[in-house]
Every structure is written in C-alpha cells, then in structure tokens.
C-alpha cells in the first residue's frame, strides 16, 4: 500500500473512530449546560491524546514491543499489576457504556427499552470479533463512523457565532454551578484520553508490523487524525449549545439528545443521530473488547492476534468472550447509560496518572527507543494535563456524587 494512502486511511480512521459514547455524551451535556464555555476542555483533551497516540505508535515502531509487554518487562509483575488493573477496570466500564450507547440508539429507533437490547448487542459485538480480522475491526468501524460527520453539517446549518466558539477554546472560570462545571470538564478530558485508545493503537501498530519507516506516517496520523476527530466532538458541543442551551434543557435525560440533530436537519437528522450513535458506540465496543484481550494476553505472554483463529489463541479469545456478556449485564440492570458513561469518563480522568506515567517512563527509556525518546514538550504536555485532570477529578467527583 502506498504511504500516501496509508496516511489518508489513518486520518480517516482518526476522524471516524473519534466519537464514541463518552465524547458524545460529555460534549452534548457540556454544550447544553454551559453553552460554548467548555470547548477548551475538548481542545485540551485532543492535544493530550494526539501526543499519547504519537508516543504509542512511535514506541511500537521503534521497540517492536506492545505497551503491556514492555511495562511488565520494565517494571516487573508487581508494579505492572497497578496499570493493568486500572486500565482493565476503566476499559470495562467504558465497554459497558458503549454497549449502553448502542442500546439507546436501538431504543430511539424501535421504542423498545434499552435493557432488552444489551445482551443481543453484546452477542453481536462478540460475533464480529469471533469472525472478523483486525483490519475489519479497525478500518471497517471507522469508515462507517464517518456518518458522525453529520454533527459537523448540523453545526454549520445552525450558523453558530464562530468567533465566540473560538474564543472559548481558552479556559475560563464558571460564573455559576462550579462543581458541575469542573466535573464536566474532567469528564470531557477523560473521554478524549481514554487509555484504550493508545493501548489499542499500539497493539495495532505491532499487529501491522510497523518499523521506523512508519514514524512520519505515525506523526501525521496522530496529529491530523486526532485534530479532525476533535472537530467532530466540538461540533456536538456546538449543536447542543445552539439547540438545547437556549431552551434551558440540561441533558439529564437521554431522550432529549437527538434534538441536537433534529433541529438543524429535521427527520433526516433523527435518522443520522441514531446511525451515528449506534455505529460510533458499536465500533468503540469492538475496539475496547479487543483491547481487554490484548492487555491480558500481552501482559501474561499468551498467544494473541485478532488475525488468528479463535482456537489458536484460546485465552486471548476467552477474555473478550467473558467480558462482553458481563458488560452487557451491567446495562441489563437498567442503570442509566448516560450517567454510567459520564461517570466512567470522570473515573478515566482520575486514573490518568496511573495509566499515563508508566507510558512516559517507557517513552524516556533509551533501551527501548534509542535516540527517539520523548522531547520535553510531549513529556510536559501529557504530565500537566494528566495530573491537573486527576486533581480536579479528585475534588469534582465527590462533589458531584453528593449533589446528585
């Protein structure tokens, strides 16, 4: 495949794969509650995830190690257990949220309550992983995910004050409701910086056999893919800010969210909203379930690979075969998928130091990267966002729990 095509495909993957339950729910909620004011949190999240994705790809291309493999080797089993458990738990909650997102889309489409869809959806995700190959999961899901560009169209149709939106890319203090404001801000950052994203990306780079000749592609794909992907998330925020904020509707109940596309695009908007939600969440569920398998297999040295037949990588297959029905059962209980999603995102932000610092240690280790270790800028950017998000989450999560 020509390099140009690979770059294009990588960027398309970034755009189509960016939106999932977390980024959609947090951006819609933030727009409805605070107008354009939280646009900066999306911007900050994008910068951070672009750096992390670039690092994960560079690490795989130079060292030929996956992240869990290198972490176990570098830190030993006892310390490795900390990021393993943190990433595993957070990813599991996010998996349940994504299944919940698909179920909500099906509820909007059919009128049948979301709980009823949870196990069929989990089974369908499982079937795709059982039968599919890595390329199909990664490229297929994100190509279909391009339907989420409907939010960009919707945002332009609503004719937003572009200057005001751009001005909000700089952080500002809330005028009222500060506990909610900061909780929303960390949830947005958590949604952008989900660890499954860079673990999955690193596993993919090793699965595709990247070497140092991919470093340029990697940098372009990480930078442009994430930036354009972030534009979709900002479009969701703009739609919610234009449609729901003036009406005083706060997205506490999910039934109101489709309005953000119905207002600019009418009946088509409703269909596009359902398709976006279903496809984005389904694609993310595929990636997260697969990533849980990668995490365990690469950490414990089991045979792994989505391109192998299930029986050739039995324990690897077993992990997603067990996790998917369990995540489906979380939704069967009738827990509010929107609350679960936003809460999982805040928890992701809280766990950032544990998931990101081990990565940074590896990225600065010349035994793995030779002369291609991190520069000061990427270290500083990721550390600063990670720690600030964690500290704010530490304060905001209890306040939010007490408030609701």
């Amino acid at each position: 495949m020509s390099k140009l095509l690979e770059i294009a495909l990588g960027i398309v993957t970034g755009i189509g794969g960016f939106l999932e339950a977390g980024s959609l729910a947090t951006a819609a909620q933030a727009g409805a509650t605070f107008g354009f004011q939280l646009a900066w949190a999306i911007g900050l999240g994008i910068i951070c995830i672009a750096f992390l994705i670039e690092m994960a790809g560079r690490f795989a291309a130079v060292s030929r190690h996956t992240l869990p493999d290198a972490m176990r080797e570098r830190f030993g089993i006892r310390f490795f257990l900390v990021p393993l458990v943190a990433v595993g738990l957070v990813s599991f909650l996010v998996l349940a949220s994504e299944i919940g997102g698909v179920c909500l889309a099906l509820q909007f489409a059919s009128g049948i309550g979301f709980q009823w869809w949870a196990l069929p959806v989990a089974a369908l995700v499982w079937l795709f992983l059982w039968k599919g190959t890595f390329g199909m999961v990664e490229k297929g899901a994100s190509l279909l995910g391009l339907v989420t560009l409907a939010f960009v169209v919707g945002a332009f149709r609503l004719d937003p004050p572009v200057g005001q939106v751009a001005a909000r890319l700089l952080p500002s203090l809330p005028q009222q409701d500060s506990a909610k404001y900061w909780f929303m801000a960390v949830s947005i950052i958590g949604a952008s910086v989900s660890p499954y994203l860079f673990y999955f990306y690193s596993a993919g780079a090793v699965e595709d056999g990247w070497d140092v000749s991919y470093l340029g592609i990697n940098r372009l794909v990480a930078g442009l893919g994430m930036t354009f992907g972030g534009v979709v998330a900002i479009a969701v925020l703009v739609c919610a800010a234009m449609v729901l904020h003036p009406l005083g509707i706060q997205v506490s109940r999910y039934e109101q969210i489709p309005l953000i596309l119905v207002t600019p695009l009418g009946r088509t908007g409703f269909v596009l909203f359902i398709a976006s939600l279903a496809i984005a969440c389904f694609g993310a569920a595929l990636e997260i379930a697969l990533q849980l398998s990668y995490l365990a297999a690469q950490g414990f040295g089991w045979r792994w690979g989505e391109n192998l037949r299930p029986r050739e990588a039995a324990r690897f297959t077993l992990v997603y075969t067990v996790c998917l029905p369990l995540a489906g059962l979380v939704i069967v209980t009738g827990i509010d998928p929107l609350k679960l999603t936003v809460f999982s995102m805040a928890l992701t932000a809280l766990s950032l130091p544990v998931t990101v610092v081990p990565l940074l240690v590896l990225m600065n280790d010349p035994t793995y990267l030779g002369e291609r270790t991190n520069g000061w800028l990427s270290n500083a950017a990721v550390l600063a966002v990670g720690f600030v998000a964690c500290v704010v989450a530490l304060v905001a999560i209890p306040l939010q729990l007490m408030g609701s």
């Binding site: 176990r72 089993i77 257990l81 059982w130 414990f300 299930p310």
Partner: protein, 114 residues
C-alpha cells in the same frame, strides 16, 4: 549472570516463534566463593503467583493437584535474547501452555467456528 537476571518478565517464544508465556521466574545456583548463576528460566504454573501473593499461590497449589506445572527450561536451551527470549523448545508439549490447551479444548474449541 547479568543477562540471566535481565530476562525476568520478558516474553518467551518457542523454536517456531510461537508465544509460550513470560519468564515468570529463574532458578539460581549458588556456589561458595563464586557469583550465583542462572541455570533455568521458569515459565507458567504458579511461579508468577508466588511473586504476587504467597498465600494465594499456596492455596492454588493445594487445589490444582498436578495440573499446570511450570516449565523449567535450562539456560543452555536459550537461543537468543532480543525483543523476545527464544528457546529451543516445542511449546505444543510444554506444561507452560497447560491452561492455554485446557481453555482451547474445554471452552473455546467447543464453540462452532473456532
């Protein structure tokens, strides 16, 4: 000796480059007046559990009987130490893959299309 200790927790592949686990433990030989020497690398079994929690490892060992013993691979069978540790072993017969085979035969292999 230096090299021997460095391989702890590295990926192990067999002579056909098939993954067979991690270097979960090492067997050291001490001789009076000389530095200790790595004689075997240990893969699988409860070796890893011993390094995480002794009580849990003891409990598992009492229950599991003779299933899933660790594979002790002599250092002389280590072919190459690079990104992975390559050993001159056929993993399809290694006890290190006991649970991989068990899951294949009793769970995954029973689902149609596996």
């Amino acid at each position: 000796m230096e090299l021997g200790l460095a391989v702890l927790d590295q990926q192990v592949v067999d002579r056909h480059d098939r993954m067979m686990g991690k270097v979960d433990g090492l067997v050291l030989e001490t001789r009076p007046g000389e530095p200790a020497r790595v004689t075997h690398i240990v893969v699988g079994g409860t070796t890893l559990l011993w390094r995480i929690h002794r009580g849990l490892a003891r409990w598992v060992e009492r229950r599991r009987g003779t299933d899933g013993r660790p594979d002790l691979i002599p250092w002389s069978r280590v072919l190459r130490v690079g990104v992975d540790v390559k050993v001159d072993v056929d993993s399809s017969r290694s006890p290190a893959l006991h649970w991989e085979r068990w899951v294949r035969d009793h769970v995954i292999g029973r689902i149609p299309g596996a």
